[in-house]
């Protein structure tokens, strides 16, 4: 869903004269949305900009993405960056599983804070 939103945003900004690059981890959703330029990082969702606490990996991904931004000249190009998730490939069968329950949180219109103290801080800031 987020990758779809990303493609919609990218296509609009580009048509308005702003060059864009999408950095994504869901290749099929990128292909469907066909943004102007994209790089694909074959990591589990939630880790598009690198492995947690691995500064070297995060900086390498940003630098490769920036190089792709400069090199892509064909509209709709999706370049696959050469990164492998280091742990077992089991994450892929889990991510692509069709069994199991709905993993989404309930949809409602109340802000959902990561911590209760965030709610108090936001209410204090808005007061």
């Amino acid at each position: 869903m987020c990758h779809q939103t990303g493609s919609l945003i990218a296509r609009y900004l580009e048509a308005s004269g702003i060059p864009t690059l999408c950095i994504g981890s869901a290749l099929d959703i990128l292909q469907a949305g066909n943004p102007p330029r994209a790089v694909f990082i074959d990591y589990p969702l939630g880790h598009t900009m690198g492995r947690p606490f691995d500064r070297h990996n995060q900086r390498a991904i940003v630098n490769d993405a920036l190089s792709a931004f400069e090199s892509i000249s064909e509209p709709g190009t999706i370049l696959s960056l050469d990164y492998q998730w280091p742990d077992s490939p089991a994450w892929k069968s889990e991510a692509g599983s069709t069994s199991g329950d709905d993993t989404r949180a309930p949809r409602d219109t109340e802000p959902v804070y990561q911590m209760e103290s965030d709610r108090i801080a936001a209410e204090a800031a808005g007061a």
């Binding site: 987020c2 779809q4 939103t5 990303g6 493609s7 919609l8 945003i9 990218a10 296509r11 580009e14 048509a15 702003i18 060059p19 864009t20 690059l21 999408c22 950095i23 869901a26 099929d28 959703i29 469907a32 949305g33 943004p35 102007p36 694909f40 969702l45 939630g46 880790h47 598009t48 900009m49 690198g50 606490f53 500064r55 995060q58 900086r59 940003v62 920036l66 931004f69 400069e70 509209p75 709709g76 892929k92 991510a95 599983s97 069709t98 199991g100 329950d101 709905d102 989404r104 949180a105 409602d108 219109t109 109340e110 959902v112 990561q114 965030d118 801080a121 936001a122 800031a125 808005g126």
Partner: protein, 160 residues
């Protein structure tokens, strides 16, 4: 082999008895605007769909929230929290926001001159919006106006 998200989500929803979601399939080629100047001289804007917010800001809600948050590029990582309908993807970002925002790496690219500068704020949204109409009519025009206000030369999009 990459994960086929669309077909697996379709199969799972069907099994759970949900109506199929109508994914966006682009029918025409995207517009293409060449870079106006080298990235080393460009002001770079960022939009992340991860639902990141700064402690003190109102969090996102989970029903087609099309609102935006501006996060100062100098915000310390421990002040960045997340709310997103697919909370199952947030376990690691909640430990290290940089694995989905890349703010530390982007600031390093700025310091090293790989990009001219990062725009003063990065923008975030909760990208799990089911209504493509609301994305087009509400979220995108607002985001475009904010990027124009920041006079960005280019934009990086990091969908989650």
């Amino acid at each position: 082999m990459h994960v086929e998200y669309i077909s697996s989500i379709r199969a799972r929803y069907e099994r759970l008895g949900y109506a199929p979601y109508r994914w966006f399939y682009a029918e025409d080629a995207p517009a293409f605007t060449p870079l106006k100047k080298p990235l080393g001289e460009s002001r770079v804007g960022v939009i992340s769909t991860s639902g990141a917010y700064v402690v003190g800001q109102v969090a996102f809600h989970y029903k087609d929230d099309t609102s935006l948050r501006a996060i100062s590029k100098d915000t310390p990582a421990d002040k960045i929290h997340f709310s997103h309908i697919t909370e199952n993807y947030l376990a690691d970002p909640r430990q290290d926001p940089d694995c989905i925002l890349g703010l530390g790496a982007l600031r390093a690219a700025e310091r090293e001159g790989r990009i001219g500068e990062l725009a003063p704020d990065i923008f975030t949204c909760m990208g799990g919006v089911y209504s493509q109409r609301r994305v087009r009519e509400e979220m995108i025009p607002e985001l475009h106006a904010r990027f124009v206000e920041q006079a960005v030369d280019t934009v990086l999009l990091v969908p989650m």
